[in-house]
């Protein structure tokens, strides 16, 4: 449903987005991950026709956004929950949008209920809203036109844990009913629970993309710690596994079950045994987030 091909954004000499390509299929949630300033928002704005790409194309449902007829009925967009007129009430904000999209006023009330803004909150001006309330209002705004696609930039910002949990359920449900969701975040944990696919960008380039489970499992292997580390290591070596050390644990290039069998056969007492699941992606993510100097220091 969303197709981004070699999209590039240049500001003077600086490349904010550099040859980014990915696609989002119907029925999936795609997490668009990257540290702040990686080019996530710029990419999303180019998809929505708000910023002009220096090169490359983006389409939604096969059409460039600017050629969509009634885009609000096709794509629900929440690019910045802070970008609402503070002088309008929550209800008025949605009413104006409903008028613009040509959807019935009754939907405004339905959506206020759905996102948990009660009558009193809806009647207050947006100026008085917390960021979490603005995110809820923004989500209601995005869902107003009954779109098939959602594009959300950092929708979890400002939401409390309960709100994040609620939003995950809502997005999961939207995708399970055949919708397409593209949501960005600078926190891996935030999208990990809801995304099917991940696109990770850093410094304007895609550094990893693919199925979430594959990416997270990656070449992580198994982390294991035994009372007699030396003996276990020797046993694993004998069994022909690659063994490394991470934080006082052994990192083994085999699934936990195999490692457990080797340990049992060697009579080793295990203190810890777990897949090094998010290790690969998380470490890459940390490396992206850390500045150049920090990366040097870690080496």
């Amino acid at each position: 449903m969303i197709e981004v091909r070699n999209i590039t954004k240049r500001y003077g000499r600086q490349l904010a987005v550099d040859d980014v390509s990915f696609s989002c299929a119907a029925g999936t949630v795609t997490g668009f991950l990257g540290p702040n300033g990686a080019g996530k928002s710029t990419t999303l704005r180019m998809i929505c026709g708000l910023a002009t790409a220096s090169a490359g194309t983006a389409t939604v449902g096969g059409l460039p956004y600017r050629r969509l007829r009634d885009p609000g009925r096709v794509v629900g967009v929440l690019l910045d929950a802070a970008a609402m007129h503070p002088g309008r009430t929550g209800r008025e904000t949605l009413t104006v949008a409903a008028l613009a999209m040509g959807v019935s006023r009754a939907r405004v009330g339905e959506l206020l209920d759905l996102v948990g803004l009660n009558r009193a909150a809806a009647g207050r001006r947006v100026r008085a809203y917390s960021l979490g309330m603005r995110q809820r209002l923004g989500l209601a705004h995005a869902l107003l036109g009954e779109p098939q696609v959602l594009i959300l930039d950092e929708p979890a910002n400002g939401l409390d844990p309960e709100g994040i949990f609620w939003m995950r359920g809502l997005l999961r449900d939207f995708a399970d009913r055949g919708g397409t969701v593209l949501l960005s975040s600078h926190l891996l944990r935030e999208v990990e629970a809801v995304a099917d696919r991940l696109v990770v960008i850093g410094g304007g380039r895609v550094v990893a993309a693919g199925d979430k489970d594959e990416l997270l499992a990656g070449d992580g292997g198994t982390l294991v710690r035994a009372r007699d580390q030396q003996a276990l290591r020797a046993a694993l070596d004998r069994a022909g596994h690659q063994v490394g050390t991470v934080d006082g644990r052994l990192l083994v290039s085999a699934p936990p079950e195999t490692v457990g069998e080797v340990a049992a056969a060697a009579g080793a007492v295990l203190l810890e045994l777990r897949p090094a699941d998010t290790g690969g992606l998380e470490q890459m993510f940390l490396a992206l987030t850390a500045g150049e100097s920090v990366r040097e220091a870690v080496k």
């Binding site: 704005r45 708000l50 009634d70 609000g72 794509v75 910045d80 609402m84 309008r88 613009a100």
Partner: protein
């Protein structure tokens, strides 16, 4: 004209009025109009208390403040960053801008019956309290006044589009006539130029029932420079700019 286009215009009209700033501005226009009419009833020479005079003076607060509404119709989209949602819902930007232009025109034209009503109230009270002016008014005057309001509000809109900054646009809008007066007073050679370019001078004839061909020419020139030029430049600017 399709339904989508009508919707856009209705949205822009609604956005003009549904914020506190919009409501305040309309209230201020209403109050100052009422104040001017009251002053006229209380202090003007009874023979001058005609419907026409009431109407012309009641139009002045509108002419002064409605352009601010025109400015804000555009600039708040940037200062409050609501442009992000406006142009996500209608990515063809000139369509949004055209809808704003129509909304501004509607506001300008709608102000005329409001001024007429204020003037009628003033005339009625004046007549009851000894005024002798009566209900004379030239039809042309009403048409000219509508044009006067349209020019002013579209100029506000155009300045807003070109500058995309509320205080700068408003200050320039209000300062421009004063600047002409001051410059014209200091620099002798500017005076004939002002006759053609000072919009506050060239629109003056619109507040009388007779406008000469020369006055039309001067009006057209100044409108081209201060209204049409910034309008086109501002539209082009917004078409090309990234929305952030």
């Amino acid at each position: 004209m399709n339904i989508r286009w009508w919707r856009l215009i209705l949205v822009e009209l609604r956005k003009m009025l549904d914020t506190r700033a919009g409501a305040w501005l309309l209230g201020a226009i209403g109050l100052s109009t009422a104040a001017i009419v009251a002053v006229l009833v209380l202090f003007a020479d009874p023979a001058e208390q005609t419907f026409g005079t009431f109407f012309v003076l009641a139009s002045l607060p509108v002419a002064f403040l409605l352009p601010v509404l025109g400015v804000m119709l555009v600039t708040t989209e940037w200062s409050q960053r609501s442009a992000l949602t406006t142009f996500a819902l209608e990515p063809v930007r000139r369509r949004v801008l055209a809808a704003k232009l129509v909304a501004a025109l509607v506001a300008a034209v709608a102000s005329v019956p409001a001024s007429l009503a204020a003037a009628a109230a003033g005339t009625a009270v004046a007549a009851a309290t000894g005024g002798t002016g009566g209900w004379r008014i030239e039809a042309a005057l009403i048409g000219y006044a509508a044009l006067f309001q349209v020019i002013n509000v579209v100029m506000g809109l155009a300045f807003g589009m070109l500058l995309l900054n509320t205080p700068v646009a408003i200050v320039l809008l209000l300062l421009l006539p004063t600047a002409w007066t001051v410059l014209g007073g200091v620099v002798e050679r500017l005076r004939p130029v002002a006759q053609w370019l000072d919009l506050s001078l060239t629109t003056e004839p619109l507040l009388s029932p007779d406008v000469t061909a020369g006055q039309w020419a001067r009006l057209a020139t100044s409108v081209a420079v201060w209204v049409l030029l910034p309008l086109v430049a501002g539209m082009l600017r917004i078409e090309r700019r990234d929305i952030a």
